[in-house]
């Protein structure tokens, strides 16, 4: 995982809700509709803009899914980069404001 902390926040432009542990996400700008798997859902729910991704992986993902930390960190970085390409998450090296309440 990169040295600099990565902060992740949910993009306030999207709509999202968990259904049976999986997040439904709709981007009204381009009408795309996704569902996130359980791991992605955990990261999405923890993406408050203040908690570094590394902490989210260590405290949430590894605890809930019993995965190896280094591997989980690498997967999470890739996932976050994909989700930000789709406009679902916003990433930064600085803490981000969170405009959504859940």
């Amino acid at each position: 995982m990169s040295e600099n902390p990565i902060y992740v926040a949910r993009n306030s432009a999207i709509a999202a809700r968990a259904l049976a542990g999986e997040m439904m996400v709709m981007n009204s700008a381009d009408s795309t509709f996704f569902t996130l798997n359980e791991v992605a859902t955990v990261i999405f729910q923890a993406a408050d803009g203040r908690t570094p991704l590394r902490e989210i992986v260590r405290d949430r993902v590894c605890k809930q899914f019993e995965v190896d930390l280094a591997e989980a960190e690498a997967d999470a970085e890739q996932l976050v980069s994909e989700l930000s390409q789709h406009g679902i998450l916003i990433t930064s090296n600085q803490p981000l404001p969170s405009e959504t309440s859940r």
Partner: protein, 372 residues
Amino acid sequence: MTLMSEVGQKAFDLGVPLAVHMDVTYRCNERCVHCYLDHDDHGEMTTAEITDALDQLADAGVFFLTFSGGEVFMRRDFLEIVEYARRLMFNVKIKTNAVMIHEQEARRIRELDVDTIQISVYSHRPEVHDAITKLPHSFERTINAVRFLRDQGLRVTIANVLMTVNSADHSGVQKLAAELGVNYTLDPTITPMMDGDTSVLALRIPGEELPSIFRNPALVDNQEEFCAPPKPPSEKDLEGYSCSAGHSFCYISPYGDVFPCVQFPLPTGNIRQQKFLDIWNFSPQMKEVRSIQAKDLTVCSSCSHVTSCSRCPGLAYMEGSMRGPSTTDCEKSFYRTGVPTANMLRQGLSKPRSLARSGAPLIQIQPVAAPA
């Protein structure tokens, strides 16, 4: 199966209220001839009551939220409510006549990332539209608003309610929507007034004219399939349920009353007195609606149309029984396919009886709890 329908099925199977239609007011600045609402304010929910309800809906798993009325912008706090809903990450759709939407409102709606704005337009001829809404210059104001919203890059749909007075205008409205670069949808249904007055049904397109709509390629895709004779139902079909009402969808009135659907006036509880999830999960009425399978339907279970019919349990309820047939849908099934329905056969009719002419008593939607 698309991902969206997979998710819809999952919510249905789990009994999660995936979508809610909330009317924030019944007040309106128009007086449309076909409108079924009592426009007086009998004690609408306050801003705080609505935001509390939205918190509960988000916790219950609601994703798709439609705000409608009345005219939503009659509430001065409407955009505040939308903002709150968007912070809770609902997918928000707004139904409006748009006459109060100017550039500033359009910009705010875009900033809030509202999914779709559905706007009622009755005719491409201003005099016909205004005669229906009974609001002078409403056509001009509505169309200006469509432009403001479209210019913001928002998704706008023009909804065209068809009735006798404008039945010739659907192609004009469709063309207008295309010129404006927005979507078009047709709605040939007229719902009885909330006080049970059926006189508005006289405005409904007569059944005999439905074939010309159903067979118009500009309005109906894939007509051959749409108008094909029904296939006999299988055993599995008879174990199926009608629609999402009460399964993954419900309606909340401006007074906090919860119903299975906006067109299904069976009272199930009031969110001013109970938690939403208690009503959704435990109300005997909701449970009853959820329990009804095709095989339990009194007439429809023996009808050849039962799997392809648009039978609305809400309209059936208004005619007297949520397990009975809905005459409006019998009309549609018959005129779509030419095949007689079980409801006609049992009455010995060669063509369906029109609800508007039958004088059938209709049950009414009313505020359930007398508002304080």
